[in-house]
């Protein structure tokens, strides 16, 4: 996406030569409260008390994404990722706080902000099933003010970018989920926006398409775009993101680099231990383990309990493990040494918030 002669919004603004970094996306103290439940017309007319529960979907979140930066927003289901994406995308008005995109106040000037934003909402919805891929992109290009003389070329490029050129003239209803998702990505990129919001962009993609997607995002970073990716795929975030923010129940639980995040885990290495027993009490095993080791996620499997143990040296840990297990009447059926990953970070952050217990019994 960087060949010369291109008249996109990012022309002549390559990051590599930029002397300073600037925030293209700045969110400060954003909160969104939803009302859950219904208030019927009768209740309203009677003036009955409002009994709808308030859900704090996003709670005082501040976050910035710089030019040429890819930030991962991680969090379990219901953490508030999509809500935040929609707030930035002008589809939702926050209850409090402010959002700026390329120095435009999103709340005061949503129409203006939309020109700088490329948004991929969650799922493969959002395109017209009864049109072809190409027709979809032509429509959205015009809608995003791509000059009419450039639409053909831009659509061709975007199709090429997401590798859909071969099926461009097929109807979208015949596309696979992954193809529709790639078309959605092309749609988000069609006007070469400076800020990209991608909500779980790879959830429907196979590994090959996932790798393709990461290639595209790296290209965007190179071009100087600011990219915010909401995901719960930790490996992907680790591979792609310059920085991550972990969202948990609407709040930012951690923000920083992937390496910084890893320091939250008590140890640099991890040993995955699987102890035999279909009738083991997961909570009991977890309690015993945490009395003797630094323990992360403990999960119940069909015939075993699996735990992640943290340490500085896996060989030292492996040496002391059999004796201790034997004393407790446990038998290891598998041990596997590895490096600390974002899974561990994620677990240690969200678990701490949950009250510090171990082992979400599954």
């Amino acid at each position: 996406m960087t060949e010369p002669g291109r008249t996109g919004v990012l022309d002549g603004q390559q990051v590599s030569s930029a002397p300073h970094r600037e925030s293209m996306l700045a969110i400060s103290d954003v909160a969104k409260d939803y009302l859950r439940g219904r208030r019927t017309l009768v209740q309203r007319l009677r003036g009955a008390p409002d009994e709808r529960a308030v859900v704090h979907a996003v709670d005082e979140v501040s976050l910035a994404v710089d030019r040429g930066e890819v930030v991962g927003m991680l969090g379990p289901n219901g953490a508030g990722k999509s809500t935040l994406v929609k707030i930035i995308a002008t589809l939702l008005v926050p209850s409090r706080g402010s959002v700026r995109v390329c120095d435009v106040d999103v709340l005061a000037h949503p129409r203006q902000a939309r020109r700088h934003l490329g948004v991929m909402l969650a799922g493969d919805r959002g395109v017209y099933w009864k049109l072809t891929g190409r027709e979809n992109l032509e429509y959205f290009a015009a809608l995003h003010f791509v000059p009419s003389g450039q639409i053909r070329r831009r659509v061709g490029e975007a199709l090429e970018e997401v590798r859909l050129t071969g099926s461009a003239d097929e109807y979208v209803e015949r596309y696979s989920t992954g193809m529709r998702q790639r078309l959605n990505l092309a749609r988000a990129l069609i006007h070469e926006p400076e800020v990209l919001l991608l909500d779980e962009p790879t959830s429907g993609l196979d590994p090959v398409s996932g790798a393709e997607f990461r290639r595209i995002v790296r290209g965007l970073r190179q071009r100087g775009a600011a990219v915010l990716i909401a995901t719960h795929d930790l490996a992907e975030a680790e591979d792609l993101c310059d920085r991550i923010a972990v969202l948990d129940r609407g709040r930012i639980a951690f923000q920083g680099s992937v390496d910084e995040a890893k320091t939250l885990v008590p140890g640099s290495s991890v040993l995955t231990l699987e102890v035999e027993g279909a009738d083991l009490d997961t909570a009991e095993v977890a309690a015993w383990l945490s009395a003797h080791f630094r323990v992360g996620l403990v999960e119940r499997h069909e015939r075993s309990v699996r735990a992640r143990l943290y340490c500085e040296s896996t060989s030292d840990l492996m040496a002391e493990l059999p004796g201790k297990l034997h004393a407790a009447g446990l038998r290891a059926i598998r041990t596997e040494a590895g490096r600390v990953s974002l899974t561990d970070v994620f677990f240690s952050i969200t678990d701490r918030r949950a009250g510090g217990g171990h082992g979400h019994p599954q």
Partner: protein, 282 residues
């Protein structure tokens, strides 16, 4: 970067929306087939019914004669059904298009764009203008070939002009109805009300003259009534019976007013959806 300097961009977006709907309609031409079939087939029953119940030559108390001659009656009813079925199509298709886009999720992605929401309100209008024209031609052919009606070319062309002038106004009514359907979830919104109103008051099947005075008064305020009245005047009496500048002004004026109201209603609905988080739901 006000809305004025962006005007060509918004206009281009509007063209793209029309093109999008046109492509879908071309792929699923049943909307065109319906436009030809309905107004031709439905009135036949009414013509016979009316013929049977009215007998011959009934001068009415208001002095306006109800057309009793068989060909006259056919022309009268056919033109009424032409406007009635066209309006029904406009109303149902416009709200089906908007609601369908919401379910499909493309409404939300469209709202992500900076383009005017007129793209959503009027994208379908050109297709529906074509269906109106097709219906009109089909009705003329049915009258001439099926009932042996003598329709002067000048009358036929002037009637076509009525269709062209009324199209945007009726499309605006449909856009208003579609907007309320979209934002008042799970309800027919104004579509059912508009259909009922038009059938009751617009003189599609009976002249306003035989209605109670209050009903006729309401009827005369409604653009579909002007449309059907002018069509009948033109076909029966030629183009000279109509005050064209007055009609054009009236239709264009109401088009602008209703469009502005629809746009405001859409903006209000969108804003409410942006607060409650319900823009994308199914």
């Amino acid at each position: 970067m006000g809305i004025r300097s962006d005007l060509p961009l918004h206009a281009w977006a509007l063209v793209a929306a029309a093109k999008r709907e046109w492509r879908v309609a071309r792929r699923y031409p049943d909307v065109f087939i319906g436009a030809v079939a309905w107004p031709v087939v439905t009135p036949v029953v009414f013509v016979f019914q009316a013929r049977a119940s009215m007998g011959h030559g009934t001068p009415h108390r208001s002095g306006q004669t109800i057309p009793t001659d068989s060909v006259h009656l056919a022309v009268f009813l056919y033109l009424g059904w032409l406007v009635a079925s066209w309006l029904a199509l406009l109303l149902t298709e416009s709200s089906a298009s908007l609601s369908g886009q919401r379910v499909q999720g493309s409404l939300e992605t469209t709202l992500l764009s900076p383009a005017t929401r007129l793209t959503l309100l009027f994208g379908l209008a050109p297709v529906l203008l074509v269906t109106g024209a097709l219906s009109y031609i089909a009705v003329l052919l049915a009258l001439v070939l099926g009932f042996g009606a003598h329709i002067a070319l000048s009358s036929a062309l002037a009637g076509g002009l009525v269709i062209l002038l009324a199209g945007p106004t009726l499309a605006a009514i449909a856009a208003a109805a579609g907007t309320t359907t979209l934002f008042m979830r799970r309800s027919g919104g104004l579509v059912d009300i508009a259909r009922a109103l038009s059938v009751t008051f617009c003189g599609f099947t009976a002249p306003l003259a035989i209605m109670p005075t209050w009903a006729a008064k309401i009827g005369r305020l409604l653009p579909p009534t002007w449309t059907v009245d002018t069509l009948r005047d033109t076909i029966f009496g030629g183009p000279s019976k109509t005050d064209w500048p007055r009609l054009s002004l009236l239709l264009i004026g109401t088009f602008l007013v209703i469009s502005a109201l629809s746009l405001a209603a859409f903006a209000a609905g969108e804003q409410r959806g942006r607060r409650s988080g319900t823009l994308g739901g199914v």
